[in-house]
């Protein structure tokens, strides 16, 4: 009982920290916008504030905490305790492991003070460039993801994304496709055969999955007839609407929201799989392949290796943010959004509303990060040919089929003169698409629940009681070599 209280208290603390930071984000963005417009006559100050708070604070802090979270969660799944040895030498804290939090500091100190080793025959320039090229695209991806609605602050309309270009998702495809240079150059410049193998594997894998990645989002672009994420007609904003609106209870609006995963469940699964492959984490971790080739970063040490590692975690956060913005309603709750917007306190203080919605966004992001970590530690690795088969023979045809089905349903469902109507007015017309989506979900659930032929014997073999013991320590498995030592 006491433990539940502690967990509840910590969760509350985290949520209120997010709330405070989002309120500060709106305040800073509004202040910068106002200052720049009035002093220099330039618009876009809000973007600078968002860059500071959303990207440098939120993304980096969550990514840093994920390094610990991954080790703790993996330990939980493998029936271990996980990192708990680092302590703070202060009275009262000597006997507290603080959930392993001091390990983050020790990791940083370790990486910054390690010898920065360079192989003699390595190409110096490219060897040093590769970690930056791996980190920068992953980090820059977040620029177009909105963490909150556009609201008036200090008399100026403030958007909660760094930028909102009209080509929207194309930016994500363009920047995501550059991530491969870091890994493949790291593999090549190290002048190590294992590293080269890792780099070649990484580039072939990422080229294969980029096609499916692009195709998987075409359905969402068709459904909302936009490629933008932020802004008044962006995907995140449109997902605040309702497909079916039920009767309102005391002004509190309830209904089935127009969230992307209801309209495009297949698109969501395809995008999740393809982008998971792009992050190069297990089950798609052949570029790293610890048990066979160690990976493209085998020759890197110290903070250069740290950059590769943190880039991976930044990718996890960014991927969660993109998925939330496209498929899970962005910063909106599944119900009661209009009721919230109509409250007098939020009408008078719009930044408070923004902070509430921003908190919703980041909570969703953290939950999706957890899902990704859970997938990484529960799924067995794919073999190399399985990865290529999945990419080219399953994801690509299914993605093409999804585009055609979605296009046909939308063409049939939309009324005459749909192009002249505002995008928000078209959401109720997407009901047939949502029905198709719900049928798809039902089929997937039914297929999952149906026992396969011969599943009984496999069950007896694969999940015997002694089996879990042999797998429990899993000493060599982890993106973080430090993780295995605990």
């Amino acid at each position: 009982m006491q433990r539940i209280g502690v967990v509840g208290f910590i969760c509350g603390l985290i949520v209120s920290a997010i709330f405070g930071a989002m309120a500060a984000a709106y305040g800073l963005a509004g202040f910068l916008e106002k200052t720049l417009v009035e002093k220099l006559g330039i618009q876009g100050g809000a973007g600078i504030g968002n860059m500071l708070i959303l990207m440098l604070v939120f993304v980096m802090v969550i990514a840093t905490l994920l390094t610990l979270a991954e080790r703790k969660w993996s330990a939980l799944m493998q029936d271990r305790i996980g990192p708990n040895r680092a302590r703070i030498n202060l009275p009262g804290l000597r006997d507290q492991s603080l959930a392993g939090l001091p390990h983050i500091a020790t990791d940083v100190i370790k990486m910054l003070t390690k010898e920065d080793f360079q192989p003699k025959a390595a190409n110096k320039f490219l060897f040093n460039l590769a970690p930056m090229l791996a980190f920068a695209p992953a980090f820059a991806l977040f620029a177009i993801v909105p963490a909150g609605p556009t609201l008036p602050v200090l008399g100026y309309q403030v958007q909660m994304s760094v930028a909102n270009p009209d080509f929207g998702l194309l930016y994500i495809f363009a920047i995501a496709s550059l991530a491969v240079y870091g890994t493949s150059l790291a593999g090549w410049a190290s002048n190590n055969k294992f590293a080269l193998l890792g780099g070649v594997r990484a580039s072939s894998q990422m080229i294969s999955y980029e096609v499916a990645l692009g195709l998987s989002l075409v359905g969402m672009m068709l459904a909302f007839s936009t490629v933008q994420l932020a802004g008044p007609t962006g995907m995140s904003e449109l997902q605040g609407g309702y497909l079916w609106r039920f009767t309102e209870v005391g002004g509190f609006d309830v209904g089935i929201p127009a969230w992307g995963f209801l309209l495009q469940p297949l698109g969501f699964v395809l995008f999740f799989a393809a982008s998971f492959a792009e992050t190069k984490r297990a089950p798609f971790d052949v570029p790293e392949g610890e048990s066979e080739i160690i990976g493209y970063f085998v020759e890197y040490s110290g903070m250069k290796f740290g950059l590769f590692m943190i880039a991976e975690f930044v990718e996890v956060v960014v991927l969660a943010g993109v998925i939330v913005a496209i498929f899970f309603g962005g910063y909106y709750l599944p119900f009661g959004n209009e009721w919230l917007k109509a409250q007098t306190v939020f009408v008078e203080q719009p930044w408070l509303l923004g902070a509430v919605f921003g908190t919703v966004f980041w909570v969703k992001v953290v939950l999706l990060c957890y899902v990704q970590l859970a997938i990484r530690w529960t799924f067995p690795r794919f073999r190399y040919d399985q990865i290529q088969t999945l990419g080219w023979k399953i994801l690509l045809p299914v993605g093409l089929l999804n585009v055609f089905v979605t296009g046909a349903v939308i063409l049939w469902a939309l009324p005459e003169g749909a192009a002249t109507l505002p995008a928000a007015a078209l959401i109720p017309f997407l009901q047939p698409l949502a029905i198709v989506g719900l049928v798809e979900i039902a089929v997937v659930v039914a297929l999952t629940l149906t026992p396969r032929e011969g599943a009984e014997s496999a069950h007896a073999d694969g999940h015997g009681h002694g089996h879990t013991d042999t797998h429990a320590p899993a000493p060599s498995h982890g993106a973080t070599p430090v993780a295995s030592s605990h």
């Binding site: 009209d166 496709s177 090549w188 580039s203």
Partner: protein, 170 residues
């Protein structure tokens, strides 16, 4: 001197330098990476020309897809530094003459360009709308639909052709 002017010279000089790097560096990987840098700086110039959609497509298609394949092939063949770069051969001489001829033709063409060529856009709003994705889609799918589809058919033919050629060896 406007900010646009400064940016143009930054991008222009960087484009020229990195393009030079493609042919000057002996290492094939460094050469390919110079080409990637060239595409990037060229994308910057597209943005200055109000064509930001073309710029992002340039990064996506050329820097993000085609050059990755180049890099992949170079790494797979693991080409070393080729010392024959300095030798003269008939193809090299023909290539040099052709390049010089192309440069001369371009210079002559540019000298005949009319001075004020910004008359195509009546207002700033028109300029802003010019490079947007919706404008590009409008032109591509209404005005130039047939050439667009014909080109996509050409790509399909190329893929099928590649499979047919490689089939006996797979």
């Amino acid at each position: 001197m406007s900010a646009e002017f400064v940016l143009f010279w930054v991008f222009a000089i960087a484009t020229a330098m990195s393009a030079l790097g493609v042919i000057v560096t002996k290492n094939p990987i460094a050469s390919a990476m110079s080409l990637v840098a060239t595409f990037f700086f060229l994308a910057g110039i597209y943005v200055l020309l109000w064509a930001h959609t073309v710029a992002v497509l340039q990064v996506m298609v050329y820097a993000g897809a085609i050059m990755v394949l180049f890099l992949f092939v170079i790494m797979l063949l693991s080409l070393g530094e080729d010392t024959s770069m300095t030798k003269f051969s008939p193809t090299r001489i023909i290539g040099g003459v052709a390049t010089a001829g192309l440069l001369a033709a371009l210079v002559l063409a540019f000298r005949k360009l009319p001075e004020a060529s910004t008359g195509w856009a009546a207002s700033v709003d028109q300029l802003k709308a010019f490079g947007t994705l919706s404008q590009l889609g409008d032109v591509l799918y209404k005005q130039w639909l047939f050439p667009f589809e014909a080109v996509s058919l050409l790509l399909l033919v190329a893929i099928v052709g590649a499979v047919v050629v490689a089939k006996p060896r797979i």
